[in-house]
């Protein structure tokens, strides 16, 4: 179950599996809590800015007032990364429950203003490559390259074997639907 929740978060489920998972989330309180916790972990790791108190409730209230649009969107066939759309849908399903959930989440009061300042992109004096490269999926055998590379990274002398985790997630090499 936890694997599938995590896969849904990462947009790795196909449409059918994602729909099933979202139904499960709507039904299964424990699964929904896991979903919430995973997001909290993910936010904490990324040091995402905390939302203001009551943000979820305000969004939910505004959504309730919005007129329902019945015209369906045209479905784009075979768009890459399409499963990610489920993520948004699942998020809105979870939003209502999150209102309650955030209620007992520990609230951080001291926020370092510098660290949390919004990132403004600035055209720094950048060194640009001559040609913009084609973006391709990770090559087959990426793990072998990474394993061969890792031992030479000076990072090893600061944190031991830890950088070797970079070598290995075989799932990364599965083609995304």
């Amino acid at each position: 179950m936890k694997d599938r929740i995590s896969a849904l978060m990462d947009g790795e489920l196909d449409d059918k599996a994602a729909a099933q998972m979202i139904e499960t989330l709507a039904r299964d309180r424990e699964a929904l809590e896991t979903w919430g916790i995973y997001h909290l972990i993910s936010d904490a790791l990324r040091e995402t800015r905390r939302l203001s108190d009551g943000f979820t409730a305000r969004v939910a209230a505004q959504l309730a007032q919005e007129p329902t649009v019945l015209a369906p969107n045209a479905r784009l066939p075979n768009r890459q990364r399409q499963p990610r759309r489920w993520y948004a849908l699942a998020a809105s399903v979870a939003a209502v429950a999150l209102v309650g959930w955030l209620g007992f989440a520990p609230q951080e009061t001291a926020v370092a203003p510098v660290a949390r300042a919004p990132v403004v992109s600035q055209p720094a004096a950048e060194v640009k490559p001559a040609v913009v490269p084609a973006l391709i999926p990770l090559p087959s055998g990426t793990n072998d390259y990474l394993l061969a590379h890792q031992g030479f990274s000076p990072r090893v002398s600061l944190q031991g074997m830890a950088p070797y985790v970079r070598t290995v997630s075989e799932q990364l090499q599965e083609p995304r639907k």
Binding site: I41, V114, L147, S153, V168
Partner: protein, 315 residues
């Protein structure tokens, strides 16, 4: 806000010009020494490009050297055990063990003179103190002086120097990679705790057979500022492919150049840039060889090194 501005703000806020002070550099040394000296066991979370994985790491030190074991707890099971001169990667699902021996000088160490050399490419300063997994930690902030490398925030235990968190930051100030211990116990590690879990009698062994070599004719038309060649070798990748490998490093980040003959290759080479969080991989063809450049450096650096790879027929 660029990292540089961020760094400048930090320095201003502190009211002291701490960059490159002996104290700052001694923190890096302290982290380095802790990594060599301590036995520990702990759980850390690795985050890269939106992916999160939990792993367990154990390090055992005694007079005969040290052994380190890494077990990835999420996804496909993997276990990596490093002894003094060998890394073994156990993949129980496919019943494969990948073996990588070091014949030359073992693993690269961040020796004191190299730590001082880091200051040429990074502004190094002390950041905030923060509690991580129960340890009071000091942040050491490395801000790159150009956009050919990432910035780093290293949080080390004030008492032992053990690195509890390492964050890699891109030029936009975004975290691209992070290692964080969620639990750590220093000391009390036994030899048994670092033994591989798997009996590998019927497993396939993929030995890299790495050996120092001069890759005659191969090199970079121009080196990337700060990145120098640290080694050059021949090895095998995967089941049998023989490849050449050249490694370039600025003292903290490393970029490997892999060179494989195209001859006898079934699939066409797919050229271009692939990325996975802080890691970039750039593939191109040079002189009837496939060149794959892999490194934990910004895309621009990996691509520039790749574009500089050339073959000149040895005279």
């Amino acid at each position: 806000m660029t990292l540089r501005v961020f760094g400048a703000l930090l320095a201003l806020a502190a009211g002291v010009a701490q960059a490159q002070s002996p104290e700052t550099l001694s923190w890096l040394r302290k982290i380095n020494e802790a990594t060599q000296r301590l036995s520990y066991t702990g759980t850390f979370v690795y985050q890269n490009g939106g992916r999160t994985e939990t792993s367990r790491i154990t390090r055992y030190v005694d007079a005969s050297g040290d052994i380190e074991k890494l077990e990835v707890m999420d996804g496909v099971p993997r276990e990596i055990v490093r002894t003094k001169d060998t890394v073994r990667c156990y993949l129980p699902d496919s019943r494969v063990v990948k073996v990588d021996r070091r014949t030359e000088r073992g693993f690269p160490a961040l020796v004191p003179e190299r730590i001082s050399a880091l200051a040429r490419h990074y502004d190094i300063s002390l950041g905030e103190t923060r509690r991580i997994a129960g340890f009071d930690c000091q942040a050491v902030v490395l801000t790159p002086k150009d956009n050919l490398r990432y910035g780093y925030k290293l949080y080390a235990d004030v008492n032992s120097g053990m690195l509890l968190r390492a964050v890699t930051v891109d030029a936009g100030g975004q975290n691209v990679e992070q290692f964080t211990f969620t639990q750590l116990a220093i000391g009390n590690v036994t030899r048994d705790m670092v033994r591989p879990r798997h009996a590998v009698r019927a497993w396939r062994v993929e030995d890299a057979e790495a050996a120092p070599a001069r890759l005659a004719g191969w090199g970079l038309a121009s080196e990337l500022p700060g990145f120098h060649k640290i080694t050059e070798l021949k090895r095998r990748l995967g089941e049998s492919r023989p490849v050449g490998q050249m490694v370039y490093s600025d003292g903290l980040a490393a970029v490997s150049v892999f060179i494989e003959p195209l001859e006898g290759r079934r699939d066409p080479v797919r050229t271009g840039l692939a990325s996975m969080g802080a890691i970039h991989i750039y593939t191109r063809e040079v002189a009837n060889h496939m060149v794959t450049v892999v490194g934990e450096a910004p895309a621009v650096s990996v691509q520039r090194i790749a574009d500089a790879v050339e073959f000149r027929r040895p005279q």
